[in-house]
Symmetry: C2
Subunit: 194 residues, 2 copies
């Protein structure tokens, strides 16, 4: 007896990247495990080898690390309808250098390494779908970061507001400031000036 969850978001997302029949979809659903993660908790941590991949049903994560000066840097945010994982460490089976933290309460569909291996072995299109998803996720990150370098802090903040309208005032200033590449006081002033 399994908990009934439609997993519609996941299914629709996967179908954007390849065709899957009902039997395959059922198998995928059986391999996914629902996980609720409270705001502030970590899905994976620096120093550990990631052994799971999560599809975000609900909520927002951030990926962060500590630079050589010891500053905590938010590398990017990931919201619902996306997978989140340190993909490089996961695939290479090496310890991650970053944290994946829930910035809101989150509902995840979690796949273990073993489940993914099973899916890869059973579903002929699986690898192709996963590779397309991975590639798109990474290309999107590059395309997001690249123009930010040429934008001023206010523009970067406004773009963040557009992408995550309800988040800006619900997360610590430090998360956002380090993502935008500015100090907390500058961000505070930018907020006031808008």
């Amino acid at each position: 007896m399994t908990i009934f969850v439609t997993m519609d978001k996941l299914i629709n997302y996967l179908l954007e990247f390849g065709q899957l029949n009902q039997q395959q979809l059922d198998l995928i659903k059986r391999k996914a495990q629902v996980l609720e993660l409270k705001k502030g908790n970590y899905f994976s941590e620096a120093g550990k080898i990631p052994r799971q991949v999560a599809f975000i049903e609900e909520g927002i994560f951030r990926v962060c690390y500590y630079n050589s000066e010891g500053d905590e840097i938010t590398k990017y945010f990931v919201d619902e309808n996306n997978f989140v994982v340190d993909i490089y460490s996961f695939n290479q089976k090496i310890p991650s250098s970053e944290y994946v933290q829930a910035v809101t309460d989150c509902t995840l569909l979690v796949f273990s390494t073993e489940s993914l291996n099973d899916l890869s072995a059973t579903i002929i299109q699986w690898d192709s779908i996963i590779n397309k998803i991975t590639e798109k996720a990474l290309v999107d990150k590059v395309n997001k970061l690249s123009p930010m370098l040429a934008e001023d802090a206010t523009t970067r903040y406004l773009n963040f507001l557009e992408k995550f309208p309800n988040l800006a005032n619900r997360i610590p200033l430090s998360y956002l400031a380090s993502y935008l590449g500015i100090t907390q006081s500058s961000l505070s002033r930018i907020r006031k000036s808008i």
Copy 2:
């Protein structure tokens, strides 16, 4: 009768990502076409669907585009021992939104879409190797860009100097300034101050 080229760099690079026997390596070499590209010329252009992938044997490229203000932005540089292509447009078969331009004279090993399809159909590990390469290239770009946001312009310039020691004074200031996210005059001043 084919031109004799060892293609050592390419072979060694591929072998970092998977095993290939001599027969497979020979096939790969036969599918690659040597292309010399003079400084300033384009390997691929915005508006066109990319139909080739290049391995850079020698030389340096930049990938650039025009933002909504019409400024030319250098998204990143790619040097020898790397593949270069607008991977997203290439795979999706959609027109690229960026230019791939030689910033020095370059020697390339070019693979057409058809060659890559043949290799994919013939060499069982091919897709896996290519996916690993793609993933690493993109992860590297994200990891390069992300900390730049928190660095000041001088630091970004010094890091560029470290990565491309011989390039800084041989390419137009505009290429480098737009990559660093600063104006040409600022870069000029930073240069003087070092």
